[in-house]
């Protein structure tokens, strides 16, 4: 660990509200449905919801995805009873057509919440009907409740409530947060080499493989946006291991170290096991370091990954964070991260997009991380951008992705320099 210089852990946070240029939690379905292979996500919403999923999913929409929208129509709005019957009809037909589905999420949206369609009761009712074949859970991915990655948080929190109880007395480790399979496998190999067992992941790849939870469960958050999931796990007696998030060589080391300490792994053994990966990560980051060092970067709020990524870029790639915006700042989970951010970094939570863009234009950083609705307009103003959603879809965690992660930020800068048009 680098020595803690005066960081941002006590810095004031600029809290803003106004127009927010962000996705809603429904977007999380796009990567969650890839992760849990026999789960299906049924959004109960409007044509707008379907259109959003279509826009966010890109060509994935053509690949027989395991999600769909039950579009509320005029006649559904006439009376509540009708709406529930309609939903039952839709679910029955869906499950008849897709008997391979073992877990169905009814996903609430803005319209379904405003008309107070009770999806919790609907899920309970339908669970009884389809008992033994398909489990039916519900959560809200609505824009009025959730921002982008908070959709995963809401989904995992719903899963936690349904996890089997762990009745054994032995401690176990749970990795919490949907990671690309390749990254998950790397972590599982490292924990095995360290001698930590059993290790579970949430969410598991299959519905009937979800991990048990109990008072001896210790968990590591793999993602910074899992506040509600962590709270629900703690309610069931599990204990969170505090650590940096596993981005870059240092972040990954600290994250693994928290587990090793908790499981009483010998310090020398820990160093030996992680040394090769840690060295590989550092070498890989070096490739981009020249391009990144000394460059100023601003994050507009998107995924809650902003703070750990700014920490990684500052401590391992020599970048200078100007403003780090996040849709929601979970101080407790990010305490270690904030302490490592250079003093003077402006932290902002929430958004008033026009005011934030005014600050951005005044600061003119070398690189701006933002959503796709803003990226091209900012490029047209001469600012170099990195679109944020890629950071959620690409494998970026762990030692062996550290170089790729740095490269994601270096590439727009390199492109800016090579173009002669």
């Amino acid at each position: 660990m680098p020595a803690t210089t005066p960081g941002c852990d006590a810095a004031p946070v600029l809290r803003e509200r106004g127009q927010r240029e962000v996705f809603c939690g429904l977007t999380g379905i796009i990567w969650l449905h890839r992760k849990v292979q026999d789960a299906f996500f049924l959004v109960v919403g409007s044509r707008t919801c379907a259109h959003l999923l279509q826009s966010a999913a890109g060509v994935m929409i053509f690949a027989e995805p395991r999600f769909a929208t039950a579009i509320i129509e005029e006649r559904d709005l006439a009376g509540m009873a009708d709406c529930n019957e309609e939903l039952d009809r839709v679910v029955d037909r869906l499950l008849a057509r897709r008997p391979d589905i073992k877990l169905l999420f009814l996903v609430g949206s803005c319209p379904s919440e405003v008309i107070k369609l009770d999806l919790t009761r609907a899920a309970a009712r339908l669970s009884v009907k389809h008992a033994g074949v398909t489990k039916i859970l519900n959560y809200s991915g609505s824009g009025i409740e959730t921002t982008f990655t908070e959709g995963e948080d809401a989904c995992l929190a719903a899963l936690v409530a349904d996890l089997p109880a762990d009745t054994t007395d032995a401690p176990s480790l749970m990795i919490v947060g949907a990671l690309p399979d390749v990254v998950e496998d790397q972590f599982l190999r490292l924990f095995a080499d360290l001698g930590i067992a059993p290790v579970h992941v949430l969410p598991a790849r299959r519905a009937d493989d979800m991990p048990p939870v109990g008072p001896h469960t210790r968990f590591l958050l793999a993602q910074p946006f899992l506040g509600e999931t962590a709270r629900t796990l703690e309610d069931r007696g599990a204990r969170r291991l505090d650590a940096l998030f596993p981005f870059g060589a240092e972040g990954t080391t600290d994250w693994l170290h928290a587990a090793a300490r908790s499981f009483g792994i010998d310090e020398m053994h820990f160093r030996r096991v992680i040394a090769p990966g840690r060295e590989r990560a550092k070498r890989a980051i070096e490739h981009s370091r020249d391009r990144l060092a000394g460059k100023r970067i601003t994050f507009l709020p998107d995924s809650q990954l902003e703070v750990p990524l700014a920490r990684f870029l500052a401590t391992e790639a020599g970048m200078i964070p100007v403003e780090v915006g996040t849709p929601y700042l979970h101080r407790r989970h990010l305490a270690g991260e904030l302490a490592l951010l250079p003093a003077g970094t402006l932290l902002s939570e929430g958004q008033d997009v026009d005011r934030q863009l005014d600050r951005l234009r005044a600061a003119r950083p070398d690189l701006t991380v933002c959503g796709l609705g803003l990226a091209n307009p900012l490029e047209a103003e001469g600012l170099t951008t990195k679109w944020a959603i890629e950071l959620v879809f690409s494998p970026i965690h762990g030692f062996d992705q550290a170089g790729d992660l740095a490269e994601l930020f270096a590439r727009p800068l390199r492109r800016r320099d090579v173009l002669r048009v």
Partner: protein
């Protein structure tokens, strides 16, 4: 409730955004929850615009509900006016805000903003994107020119026309406008206003000055054109100039209304000669399936049959507002009209008809890819590659050239594929080489997207249910099956179907080599 994965159209407020984004000096304040800003990226990514759409979202959240969403709306409208100083503002609600009933119209009126404010009523649970665009365009234009008095044409001035309908996110609208403007210029006709694309609210106030209107995209402009006929007595040119013949028809119609000489503009496209040249003979009676918005689908059918010599075997559209026009056109070609917004119904129709070419939207492109049928895109919705950097109109004479190349290209690729297959046993062609433009692994003919979890409840009965073409596999003898594989992939599906039908009709228990060729002879055209 309608179960859906893919939607051909977005919600109506996206249509309103298309109008606002197309114009200059308009700002749209949309009462909408956090997240609805996703629609911005349609414009910044798919159309690759370098500016944000002129839309302010109130982005209310759960904690705002029940107390101050109305105040939030007024604050957003005030801030938007102060920052952007628009000539006119649109205000309205998205689907969720429609449910909380804050009444943007009343709230905006109470604010007495110093510019015209048009309140939009866009029923999200009944209507869709195109309707929203048409309604927005109509309401805004009507507001801007309701009380205007048309300026008289100066002595000796050229006749003038409005070009109405091109929007942001419109399929090839940018280049169609250039092409039609050029054509009018050749006829000696000046364009008074092109709207909404590139127009300001002040321009809309001058709509009455023109002698007549060209309704370039009926989906967007028809409502307004009808009103302008009543308000200013302007005539409307309704020919959609897609294809060589339709372009000539447009010229004739415009010349008659404007009283100018048509012959000066009867320039020509390359299409007639390209199509008559012997290289095109193999296009004769190619079976083509056409689907898209009604305007583009109907226009494409005429080009397909009359200008390329195809046989139209299917014609459909997803926008019900123009179902009547489509049914009339379908009767012209003797095919069942397919009016549906359920892509599974479209897939089923394509699978049944086994056309040799599909002309459709982005969705039909993917259906055709799965079924290994050549395909070209003729209509929105489209993806980023169909907002090209190069000049690529669909309309006018250059548009006809573009259509010829675009539609014939996948077929030429099909022939290349066929030649490669024929010669695949030759040593210089690797058997594993595969297709030049298609995935080399064989794709399943059945199921596909149709295996997806989507409702079949909306089938209108005109399209048969999905039947797996390989269901009767045991009918086939080994040598017939081998022979079938020698038939090029793009007609193989049809050959298989025809042969099986032939065998079933004759109660044959096995399809032999002879059955295959008997069927071929039977169905030979």
């Amino acid at each position: 409730m309608q179960l859906t994965v893919w939607t051909y159209e977005g919600p109506p407020h996206v249509g309103a955004m298309r109008i606002a984004t197309a114009m200059q000096g308009v700002h749209y304040v949309l009462h909408a929850p956090q997240g609805d800003t996703y629609a911005d990226l349609l414009f910044t990514m798919i159309e690759r615009r370098g500016q944000r759409p002129p839309v302010t979202y109130t982005t209310f959240q759960a904690r705002d509900l029940g107390k101050d969403t109305a105040e939030l709306f007024q604050q957003a409208a005030r801030d938007a006016y102060a920052r952007f100083q628009p000539q006119a503002m649109l205000v309205g609600a998205s689907c969720t805000a429609e449910l909380i009933q804050d009444d943007p119209a009343g709230l905006a009126e109470a604010m007495r903003l110093p510019c015209p404010v048009v309140a939009l009523e866009l029923p999200s649970y009944q209507r869709k994107e195109n309707w929203g665009a048409a309604e927005t365009f109509y309401q805004l234009a009507r507001r801007m020119c309701a009380d205007t008095v048309p300026a008289p044409r100066p002595d000796g001035g050229r006749p003038t026309a409005n070009i109405l309908g091109p929007t942001a996110l419109g399929f090839r609208h940018r280049d169609d406008v250039i092409e039609i403007t050029r054509l009018l210029d050749r006829l000696g006709i000046a364009v008074n206003v092109t709207a909404p694309l590139g127009a300001t609210p002040a321009d809309l106030a001058r709509l009455g000055d023109a002698d007549f209107n060209i309704c370039l995209y009926p989906e967007i402009a028809d409502t307004l054109c009808r009103w302008l006929e009543r308000r200013f007595g302007q005539k409307t040119v309704r020919t959609v100039p897609i294809g060589h013949g339709a372009t000539r028809d447009l010229i004739a119609e415009v010349a008659a209304i404007a009283g100018v000489d048509a012959t000066v503009a009867l320039d020509t496209s390359n299409l007639p000669w390209w199509s008559r040249s012997v290289d095109s003979t193999y296009l004769t009676n190619k079976r083509v399936f056409i689907f898209g918005d009604a305007t583009h689908a109907i226009a494409a059918a005429r080009v397909a049959r009359d200008e390329l010599g195809f046989e139209v075997v299917g014609l459909g559209c997803y926008n019900r507002e123009f179902a009547r026009d489509l049914r009339v056109a379908a009767a012209l070609y003797g095919v069942e009209p397919l009016v549906t917004d359920d892509y599974l119904a479209v897939e089923a129709a394509i699978q049944t008809l086994q056309p040799e070419l599909v002309l459709g939207t982005q969705m039909e492109r993917h259906i055709a890819k799965r079924l290994r049928i050549p395909c070209a895109v003729i209509s929105a919705p489209v993806h980023v590659q169909d907002f090209p950097a190069r000049y690529a109109p669909q309309m006018g004479f250059e548009g006809a050239n573009v259509l010829f190349d675009t539609w014939v290209h996948p077929l030429v690729m099909g022939l290349e594929e066929h030649l490669l297959t024929m010669f695949r046993d030759d040593f210089e062609f690797s058997d594993a080489g595969g297709a030049s433009h298609l995935p080399s692994a064989p794709l399943p003919l059945a199921g596909g997207v149709g295996g997806g979890p989507v409702s079949t409840a909306n089938y209108d009965g005109t399209s048969p249910p999905l039947t797996p073409p390989r269901a009767e596999e045991d009918l086939w003898s080994a040598d017939a099956e081998r022979e079938l594989l020698k038939i090029p992939f793009f007609v193989r599906g049809k050959a298989r179907r025809n042969t099986e039908k032939f065998a079933t009709e004759r109660n044959l228990s096995t399809i032999t080599l002879d059955t295959l060729y008997d069927a071929k002879a039977h169905y030979a055209r």
